[in-house]
């Protein structure tokens, strides 16, 4: 188990290191330097240009040698300093991101976990049942192939505009300020439902299909046939199959996090939901590269953390990793 975690932690550290390096490198090694790009986009007031050029050069720290720029970047990062946002000037990027995080946590955690549990349960239930396999699983394929933002758009249009059941914009009513009152919580839930259900549905389809296919593999494995030959009840065989099939699904959850996050980002854009995704869109539109860098780092950290939690869950579920044998995902 120590070996298993040792490897994992090493990979996480390397990943974080690489991600920070990418984050640092991209503005500096892309064609043209970031200052010129920013300047070109800021428009041209002759007297302001020179001033801004100096300012940006200093902010990016471009006036020192490359290796020092890199160390400075790390230094600032470890002090939690990600620069000042242009989009909401002059608030520090860290603060802007922290304001958005609660919305993301409350949206993503339930959507990911519930879809995973519900999808796996349903997939296991549907496997090798001819009727469900032919009626509901095609729906699963359609759902998992749906682009997140499109499902969000269709739901927003159908339930928000045509039927007027749900609001389709923002994280809470624009007339309110966040407080701990029933009115606010109710407003929050109303705005929360559509983004939640869009992410939930797409992922539900994916997990259900994955589980169904896994269970069929397992039911055709030798141990299942052996159990059947011994006369074990069908329910018991399926239970063993499920225990084995759930392991790749846990690994799958870890591997899929990046894609889910991407899906959540665009879903937030459709609903103008005030999470990180919406921030990223604003950062792109206002050329707020500090905010973009900050959001990127935050996503990396969140995904690494989630991966670590999943690793722990994996050890709890798969006894092989505990006894020192290499588990499936090691």
């Amino acid at each position: 188990m120590r070996r298993y975690f040792g490897r994992k932690v090493l990979i996480y550290i390397l990943t974080f290191f690489l991600a920070v390096t990418i984050d640092w490198m991209i503005p500096r090694f892309m064609p043209g330097n970031p200052v010129d790009i920013l300047m070109a986009r800021a428009g041209s007031f002759a007297e302001a240009t020179a001033l801004m050029h100096d300012y940006y050069t200093k902010i990016f720290g471009l006036d020192v040698p490359l290796w020092q720029q890199y160390l400075n970047f790390w230094n600032a990062l470890l002090h939690g300093d990600l620069g000042i946002s242009v989009y909401v000037f002059p608030v520090p990027v860290t603060k802007v991101i922290m304001r958005a995080v609660p919305f993301d946590v409350l949206l993503l955690l339930p959507a990911i976990l519930l879809s995973w549990f519900a999808g796996n349960w349903f997939g296991a239930f549907a496997a090798r049942s001819k009727r469900l396999d032919n009626t509901i699983l095609p729906l699963g394929y359609i759902l998992t192939a749906t682009p997140y933002m499109w499902l969000a758009m269709v739901l927003a249009w159908a339930l928000g505009i045509v039927l007027r059941i749900f609001p389709i914009s923002g994280g809470y009513s624009y007339a309110m300020t966040p407080t701990f009152s029933w009115a606010f919580i109710w407003s929050f839930l109303q705005h929360w439902f559509l983004p939640f259900i869009s992410i939930f549905l797409v992922k539900f389809g994916g997990w259900a299909i994955g589980m169904r296919n896994m269970i069929i593999y397992e039911l055709e494995a030798d141990y299942s046939h052996y159990l059947e030959a011994l006369g074990a009840p069908r329910k018991l065989v399926r239970k063993y199959a499920f225990n084995n099939a759930i392991l790749p699904q846990i690994t799958g959850l870890a591997l899929d996090l990046g894609v889910i996050v991407a899906g959540a980002l665009v879903t937030e854009v459709v609903f103008s939901y005030p999470g990180i995704g919406y921030l990223i869109l604003q950062a792109i539109n206002t050329r707020d590269f500090f905010l973009l860098q900050g959001c990127f780092l935050f996503i990396i950290l969140a995904v690494l953390l989630a991966n670590f939690v999943i690793d722990i869950a994996y050890v709890l579920v798969d006894p092989r990793t505990r006894t020192g044998m290499q588990g499936e995902s090691a």
Binding site: Y148, W150, L255, V269, I280, I284, N285, Q293
Partner: protein, 284 residues
């Protein structure tokens, strides 16, 4: 012997409903992509009709708020999606094969390094990386976009191919090839790869679908091609110019339906092929 095996495959392929449905949908869209541009007199970005007109006999899919023909944009967007799928998915598969074969065949320290690299790229949310890279690029074409997508999509393919190679490299026929003095690269391509052709095809299909979805996502946040139309860009424009609020459903429904249908058909084809190749999965 070989012939018999082929016929057996064909026999099961023709009886597999998933495969038939998936391929049928794909063929419809391929034909639409090839024939579609001939059916319309307009260019995707031309302002040709009344503003925000619903579907009619003249404008089959209606027009946008600017009077662009949605059908024209749609068929040109389909072409972009297939291009991204082929280039992005193909590149992802090739890189995955390269890393997977070498890591799986070589083993030892080479495998250790490549595996660590794969796991690292696997953990990084690739869309976030693409976001950053693409946001800094001034001019973007569909081809460049596909290349970036391919470069970030290979890790899971590499993982899967590595695992397969591991199980094949200890087989007798590989040992025999080694004894006869065959070069490693030749062993990989003449002994190992042919034995997992079906598997590689499945990997490519999934990479194809994944690339189409990622491209749609990128295009949707306005990071798509700057010089062409795509299905994701259509959705981006629709949301940007209030198609939801104005109820112009014919603007954003077709591109989403097309992506869902193409990617869904690919997934279904994938499972169908899996059942054809793997006798254990066939339903009795």
């Amino acid at each position: 012997m070989m012939n018999l095996k082929k016929n057996e495959m064909l026999y099961f392929a023709l009886r597999n409903n998933k495969l038939k449905v998936g391929l049928a949908v794909l063929i419809v869209f391929v034909v639409l992509t090839l024939v579609g541009p001939l059916l319309t007199d307009y260019q995707p970005m031309d302002y040709v009709g009344p503003l925000a007109a619903p579907p009619s006999s003249e404008f089959w899919f209606g027009t946008t708020t600017f009077g662009q023909d949605v059908f024209t944009q749609f068929v040109h967007g389909l072409k972009a999606s297939f291009l991204v799928g082929i280039v992005g998915g193909g590149l992802g598969t090739l890189l995955g094969m390269l890393v997977g074969f070498i890591a799986g065949y070589r083993g030892g320290i080479v495998d250790e390094i490549l595996n660590t690299l794969t796991n690292i790229v696997l953990v990084i949310p690739t869309l976030a990386v693409l976001l950053i890279i693409v946001a800094y690029l001034e001019v973007r074409g569909i081809f460049i976009e596909s290349v970036f997508i391919g470069c970030t999509a290979w890790p899971w393919a590499a993982r899967a191919i590595r695992a397969q190679t591991f199980s094949l490299r200890t087989r007798d026929f590989v040992d025999l090839a080694k004894l006869s003095g065959m070069k490693p690269l030749k062993i990989i391509f003449t002994q190992i790869a042919p034995n997992m052709m079906s598997y590689l095809l499945l990997v490519f299909i999934l990479q194809f679908g994944g690339a189409v979805l990622i491209a749609a996502t990128l295009d949707f946040i306005g990071l798509g091609p700057t010089n062409a139309i795509s299905l994701g860009l259509m959705m981006n424009n629709a949301v940007l110019w209030g198609a939801l609020l104005l109820g112009i459903w014919w603007w954003f429904v077709p591109p989403g339906v097309a992506i869902t249908a193409i990617v869904g058909a690919l997934y279904v084809t994938n499972v169908g092929l899996d059942e054809v190749f793997n006798p254990k999965l066939r339903e009795m």
